[in-house]
Structure formats: structure tokens, C-alpha cells
């Protein structure tokens, strides 16, 4: 008997969706359970975790500079995100709410920087950062990553719809314009700050190419560099340890994903709106 449209929608579609969804996370699942295998059985194709070699994690943690690179990545990502939120909110606020000569021109110029792909400027950016004496330092890892017209644009969109009455009340209270922004507008910007913070943090945690270019010193390695180094070396890769390191490195983003999926989705949606 042919199923009716109704049953197909109620049973077939959800089943297809779940099967496809399981296929999507299958590689992640395999990474996790294979990270618990021994060096010789790591490639064995078994769907269930039957071995639990937690020593892989000990080895990954102690052998590869992983802890230091995680601290570096956390420090860099948090610093970039915090500074970027303040700078971008200030600029977005000025562009949305304040009146001054050249406003449109400055905004258009800032937006035009969005057309410049990173990979096109990576070499001159390296040369400039080096000339500023920031190469191979935390400065070089942090400072160039802060500036991004995209954040400014989204803050501007947000402040354009911000209720005027609050600012007028603040002005009556005798607050300066800067005071109005820092005491009133910025603290009320949580709806835009949360998704942008998640986006900036993830982007910086993900960052691989720029740290690869700007650092030589192993002490400055970020997590993605440390991971890439594990598989980029010689002819032999101890996959059980490499996968354990990858699992450790994935933990912060997974925590963020499960705690803040709603805001993550919100951030993605915002990025799709022109």
C-alpha cells in the first residue's frame, strides 16, 4: 500500500532526517571512540567503544605542548573578542546615533574593507606587522585580528533601532555623550553582544593561518597550530594520541555549542542578513 502524504511526513521524513543527521556526526563520533583505542587498534572499524585507553589523553596532554597552546588560544581569543566588542560597539554607535561630518564616507570606507579577502593581504599584512615590531609575539597574534568592519556593521544596525528616549533621559541627567554610551547603550546591547561574542570567539579559536604566518616560537603556538603540527611531522602518526589531542581541543567549542546553540544560530542568521 502506498503511504499517504500524512504518514510519509510523520514517519519517513523524521527518519530520513535522523539518519542523515547521524551520518553528519559520524566522523565526530569516530574521532571520539577511536581516541580511546590503542595504537595498534586505532583503525579497527567497530562502532562501539570497547576499549578505554585514557592514557592516550595523558600522553596527548603531556607530550605536545597542548596545555600551553590551549592557554594561548584562550588568552588570544578572549582578548580579541573583548577589545573588538568595545571598539566595534563604539564605532557602530557613533555611526548610528551621532551626527558629524563625513559619517557616510567613513561608514562606506569601513564597509569597503570587507571586500578584501584575508588570503590576498596575508603577505603584506605580515610585512607590516613585522615592521611594527609585533611579529612572533602576542601583539602580532592579537592586534591585527581585532579590526573587522563586519562587527561594526552589525552594531550599527542594532543601535539604529535603539530607543531614543533612553538617550534623551540620560542627556537630561547630565551624562556626556560618551557617558550615555558606556553607562546606558552599551550595557543594554546584550542581544547583539552575545551572538557576536560567540562568533568572534569561535573564529579566533579556529584561527590557524595567521598564527602559522606570524609566529615561529613554539611557546606562542595556538591550539590549531599545535594540532596541525601533530599530523604534519614525519612519516608516522600516532593516531590514538593525535585524536585524543583533537578531542581535547574540540571540548571548548563543543561546550559553547551545547550551552549557547540558540545564540550561535542567532549569530548565523544575522550573518545572512544583508
Amino acid at each position: 500500500m502506498r503511504p499517504t502524504v500524512r504518514t510519509s511526513n510523520r514517519i519517513v521524513l523524521p527518519t530520513v532526517g535522523l539518519i542523515l543527521g547521524v551520518c553528519m556526526v559520524f566522523p565526530i563520533y569516530m574521532m571520539i571512540i577511536s581516541s580511546l583505542r590503542s595504537e595498534t587498534t586505532v583503525f579497527d572499524f567497530q562502532l562501539l567503544p570497547i576499549e578505554f585507553h585514557f592514557s592516550n589523553f595523558q600522553e596527548a596532554w603531556s607530550g605536545s605542548g597542548l596545555p600551553r597552546s590551549i592557554v594561548n588560544s584562550l588568552f588570544i581569543s578572549v582578548t580579541v573578542t573583548v577589545v573588538a566588542m568595545i571598539f566595534h560597539a563604539m564605532s557602530g554607535y557613533a555611526l548610528a546615533r551621532l551626527h558629524f561630518p563625513g559619517r557616510k564616507l567613513i561608514f562606506a570606507w569601513m564597509l569597503s574593507t570587507l571586500m578584501v579577502p584575508f588570503s590576498i593581504i596575508m603577505l603584506p599584512l605580515y610585512l607590516i606587522t613585522k615592521d611594527l615590531g609585533m611579529a612572533n609575539s602576542y601583539w602580532g597574534l592579537i592586534v591585527p585580528s581585532i579590526f573587522n568592519a563586519y562587527g561594526i556593521f552589525l552594531f550599527r544596525q542594532f543601535y539604529r533601532d535603539f530607543p531614543k528616549e533612553l538617550e534623551e533621559a540620560a542627556y537630561m541627567e547630565g551624562l556626556s555623550l560618551a557617558g550615555t554610551f558606556f553607562r546606558i547603550a552599551f550595557p543594554l546591547s546584550v542581544p547583539i553582544i552575545v551572538p557576536l561574542t560567540i562568533g568572534f570567539f569561535l573564529a579566533n579559536w579556529n584561527s590557524y593561518l595567521w598564527p602559522l604566518i606570524i609566529t615561529q616560537d613554539e611557546k606562542l603556538w595556538v591550539i590549531q597550530l599545535a594540532l596541525a603540527h601533530l599530523v604534519g611531522g614525519g612519516y608516522y602518526t600516532p593516531w590514538n594520541v593525535v585524536l585524543a589531542a583533537a578531542v581535547i581541543a574540540a571540548i571548548p567549542t563543543f561546550i559553547l555549542f551545547f550551552l549557547a546553540q540558540r545564540y550561535l544560530v542567532e549569530g548565523i542568521k544575522m550573518s545572512g542578513i544583508k
Binding site: 521524513l13 523524521p14 530520513v16 532526517g17 542523515l20 543527521g21 553528519m24 556526526v25 566522523p27 565526530i28 569516530m30 574521532m31 583503525f43 572499524f45 571598539f87 566595534h88 563604539m90 564605532s91 554607535y93 557613533a94 555611526l95 551626527h99 558629524f100 561630518p101 559619517r103 564616507l105 569601513m110 574593507t113 578584501v116 579577502p117 588570503s119 590576498i120 593581504i121 596575508m122 603577505l123 603584506p124 599584512l125 610585512l127 607590516i128 592586534v143 579590526f147 568592519a149 555623550l177 590557524y208 604566518i213 590549531q224 596541525a228 599530523v231 602518526t237 593525535v242 583533537a246 567549542t253 555549542f257 546553540q261 550561535l264 544560530v265 548565523i268 550573518s271 545572512g272 544583508k274
Partner: protein
């Protein structure tokens, strides 16, 4: 185009002073410039200046051994006859032509599927689809290398179950590019799916009711209702994805470094090698400028193409 606003634009409560600028207005200007200054300096030094610098460097013969010497358009003449550059462009184009349509259709289909789902599995399925997005590019490359291992990889085990012999994947000049594309697709479908899904959800339900009264359901309502209403989102995704596809480098650097036999050496990687490995700063800059022009023209062309279709 009036860049300088007239005094009457001060709806914000400021006094209108046609000649003398009031203290409050001046204060507003200072505050605004102060708020903009960090970003103006930062964007200038770290985005705008590099582009100018790249152009300047591209006109010079400049490498690790010799100092900078003005060379006019020599570097651009050189790239016209550089076989490796042309081959890298061809590989980039192949990547784009395979990756962009696949990403577009997979994320659109996933979004349609999510939109059609009802009941308790909906949230779970969406989470499953989006989870690979939480994987960083380097981790995705590591997982790819592990699963696609030519001797023992899980994908080969699965193929073995289907009676297909082991494949070389990253070790094969014909398969390496597709393997990399697969990995990059895997972590990016969820993101674009969410963008499509939110656009689909914005289409008012009565549109579909009206369409179904006219006899348009299923494929017809998708073809003549959903798809046209998604055209703006489609344009956005196609342009952003195309630009992104010209820049894919992380996974390639980790998984293949351009090999085997340069079969995955995309243009960005060739620029990277010229600049950071062979230290041909001038030449690498001319390649970067050339690629920038190509990406720019391609985006304009796409924008024109799609806006004409809509209009």
C-alpha cells in the same frame, strides 16, 4: 551624493545653528571621532594599507637575496607565462565549480528537510546537522586524514563492506581534491542550512495557502514560490561561498600541502609558497593582486547575473 549633512539633520535635539557651531555639536563631533578612531586606525593599518602595500610590492623585484628594486610590470608579465600559476588557477576553479553548487544544493535541501520536519526529532536533527560547524578547520582536516587513510581508514573499511577496493584518496592525484572538498563541505553545510532555513521561515504561510488553492503544491510551490522568494538569500550564499572557495587554505595546508604532485595546489597556496617559502615578496604580491582582481570581477559578475534574473 551629499556626504556632508546640512545642519537641519540634527533631529536629535540639538539646537539648529546655521553659522556658529554650538558647543554641543562640537562635543558630538569629538565624541564620534573618538569612538571611531581605534577602528579607523586599525582598519587602515591592517586592511587598507596591506592592499596598497601589495600593489606597491608587486611593482618591485624583491626577494630574500636582493633588495627591493622597481621593476614596473615585470612581475605581471612573469605570471602570464608561469605554468604553475595557471595550473593553480585551474585547480582553484575546479574546486569552486565542484564545491559551490554542492554546498548550495546540500544546504538548501537540508533546510527544506528541516522546514518539513515536525515533532520531537526536529530539534535533535537540526543539532546533528549543525554540530560539524563546531569543528575547527584543523580538526576537520585531522578527522579527514584519519578517516580517509589509504591503508586502514574507516571510509575504505566501509567501501570494503560494499565490495569496493581500497582507494588512495589523499594519496591520489585524481582523488585528493575531492577528498578535501568533502571535508570542507562537511563542516560548512550546517551554517548555510541555518541561513536558508531562517529565510524559508520568513515566508508567510498564507502564500502557500493561496498557492495550494491555485493547485500549486509540492514541487510546483517550491519552484514558483519558495525558490523565487529565496533569491536574495541564494545570491548572498552563492557570492560569499564563491569568494570563500577561492580562499580555502587551512585544510589543504594540513591535509595535502598542495600534493600529491601539486594536484591540490590552489592559487592561494601557490601565493603562500611564493611569499613565505621562496620569499619572492614582489612576485607573490603580483599574484595576490591578480587573484584579487579575479575574485572581485567574479563577484560583480555574479551580482549582475542574479540581480538581472530577479529584476
Amino acid at each position: 551624493m551629499a556626504i556632508r549633512p546640512s545642519p537641519s539633520r540634527l533631529e536629535g535635539g540639538s539646537t539648529v545653528a546655521p553659522r556658529r557651531i554650538s558647543a554641543r555639536t562640537r562635543n558630538e563631533w569629538f565624541t564620534a571621532y573618538g569612538f571611531l578612531l581605534p577602528n579607523i586606525i586599525g582598519l587602515f593599518v591592517f586592511v587598507f594599507l596591506p592592499i596598497l602595500y601589495a600593489f606597491y610590492a608587486s611593482l618591485h623585484d624583491w626577494n630574500a637575496l636582493s633588495p627591493k628594486v622597481f621593476a614596473g610590470l615585470d612581475n605581471y608579465r612573469k605570471l602570464l607565462h608561469d605554468d604553475e600559476w595557471w595550473s593553480s588557477l585551474k585547480i582553484t576553479l575546479l574546486f569552486s565549480v565542484v564545491y559551490v553548487p554542492l554546498l548550495y544544493f546540500l544546504s538548501l535541501l537540508s533546510a527544506l528537510l528541516m522546514n518539513a520536519l515536525r515533532g520531537w526529532t526536529t530539534g535533535l536533527t537540526r543539532t546533528l546537522f549543525l554540530l560539524p560547524f563546531a569543528i575547527t578547520s584543523v580538526i576537520s582536516a585531522i578527522i579527514g586524514m584519519f578517516m580517509l587513510d589509504p591503508r586502514n581508514g574507516i571510509i575504505n573499511s566501509l567501501l570494503g563492506l560494499a565490495g569496493i577496493g581500497p582507494q588512495q584518496f589523499l594519496g591520489s592525484t585524481s582523488q585528493a581534491m575531492y577528498s578535501v572538498i568533502g571535508v570542507i563541505l562537511w563542516i560548512n553545510v550546517g551554517y548555510n542550512m541555518i541561513i536558508f532555513l531562517s529565510a524559508i521561515k520568513e515566508i508567510p504561510r498564507d502564500y502557500y495557502e493561496a498557492a495550494s488553492m491555485d493547485g500549486a503544491t509540492g514541487w510546483k510551490s517550491f519552484r514558483y514560490l519558495t525558490l523565487p522568494l529565496l533569491s536574495e538569500t541564494s545570491t548572498f550564499i552563492l557570492i560569499v561561498t564563491t569568494i570563500g572557495s577561492f580562499q580555502a587554505l587551512d585544510q589543504i595546508l594540513v591535509m595535502t600541502q598542495g600534493g600529491p604532485a601539486n594536484s591540490t595546489e590552489v592559487s592561494v597556496l601557490y601565493i603562500y609558497k611564493q611569499g613565505f617559502q621562496f620569499l619572492n615578496m614582489g612576485y607573490a604580491s603580483s599574484l595576490a593582486i591578480a587573484l584579487f582582481v579575479i575574485i572581485f570581477c567574479l563577484s560583480l559578475f555574479q551580482l549582475k547575473l542574479f540581480s538581472r534574473k530577479q529584476g
